[in-house]
Symmetry: C2
Subunit: 240 residues, 2 copies
């Protein structure tokens, strides 16, 4: 890491916020942003039966590096329902170039995944007495998932505000923060680098190969590579 970048700091005291942390580039950046905005992050990850479970190890590294108050990894086995290339016997698509990605909802979409993740975050926020949840979804350089769209997040926030004890008592307004929603992948990376995020610790690939090396040809790898190329910086996770 360059010597002049700002370190995110180690979970300085502040307002508690629950931060969804997958271990990928977007959620690592979101975690750093939450700290830069004065929040004390409680990181939440999920072992949900994903074929790229290596991302849990990445989430632990990122949480340790950036600094969180607590990190919980929940076990929820979405393989019980199937229906996604990430949790079922469906092939993950691979392409040579990012331009080959086709519009529409891809087979890597996991039904209701963000709704499930946000619901656990809501439960934790309520027990913490926190009013803020951060999620690293993005609707620009993204994979076309329904539950990454701003209108979805707005509807979730409206529901969450009457789902809990605070909602009944009218004591607090719960906010779903999606700071990356309207940024390109390059803008996300630039912001993260400015905040000192060590992207060598993150993992984005849907179908890592031997030694957990990124495949470089799934949608997640291609969008990540496009972002680093636009920034003009090599991806530190790909360095030997």
């Amino acid at each position: 890491m360059a010597g002049d970048v700002k370190r995110p700091g180690k979970a300085a005291p502040g307002k508690e916020a629950v931060v969804l942390l997958s271990g990928g580039l977007d959620s690592a950046t979101t975690l750093a942003i939450s700290i830069s905005e004065g929040y004390q992050p409680y990181a939440l990850s999920f072992r949900y039966g994903q074929r790229h479970e290596v991302e849990i190890a990445a989430a632990r590294r990122v949480a340790e590096s950036i600094g969180v108050a607590t990190h919980i990894v929940m076990d929820i086995d979405l393989r019980a329902f199937g229906g996604s290339a990430l949790t079922d016997d469906i092939d993950v698509p691979h392409h040579a170039h990012v331009e080959d990605l086709t519009p529409g909802i891809p087979v890597t979409y996991v039904p209701a995944r963000n709704t499930i993740f946000l619901s656990f975050a809501l439960a934790w926020a309520e027990t913490l007495g926190a009013s803020d949840i951060f999620i690293g979804v993005n609707a620009v350089d993204y994979s076309g998932y329904p539950d990454c769209r701003p209108e979805y997040l707005a509807a979730y926030e409206a529901m969450a505000n009457i789902a809990t004890k605070a909602g009944v008592e009218g004591l607090q307004h719960l906010s779903i923060h999606a700071p990356l929603a309207h940024w390109t992948k390059a803008q996300i990376i630039e912001r993260g680098l400015a905040l000192g995020v060590d992207y060598s610790l993150t993992h984005s690939c849907y179908e890592p190969g031997e030694g957990d090396r990124p495949c470089r040809t799934c949608a997640s790898c291609l969008l990540r590579a496009k972002g680093f190329a636009e920034v003009g910086t090599p991806d530190p996770a790909l360095q030997p």
Copy 2:
């Protein structure tokens, strides 16, 4: 069971619906109602760290008795967050009489529990291609939980309708059915008896004693007893 009651029938073919099934009186009745309305139920239960885990065995008995297409029991450990008498080291309140129950949200409320349960139901509905979810919440003889209120369910349904692939493609309208929402406990029991629900198989107690016997003094036991008293029928789960 009286000889002249109608049997619910064994998961006749019909439109698929996901039915949340706790193993209690309300969800058993809801399951029978879903069949009476022509749905083929896919039952979903949760081992969530509840102290009354015996309700999972009740859910299995009820699913078997009433008849479902499939029954999934998901493991999700909400003890990681705590904050409820059902999942944490907080005493379950006991009272001698149902009139002793105080208004307000009790300590047995589990933060965001129904939001989490509905989110898994939404995931399963999406993989099944189902447009209907049944939940046995009730806002009359109930325990004052925020996530049992009709306005909460309406907000959840609105969110769910833009959360999924079907929501993006505008192909189907997802409905959250809460048939018991406006019924008294006595009305619920009367409807269930008419549909042939065997309430001896159900379990409602928050803190069962030896041999999994109901304590008869928690809010759930008291509301159940009030219901059977109003119907003028003994509770078959309490018979020797």
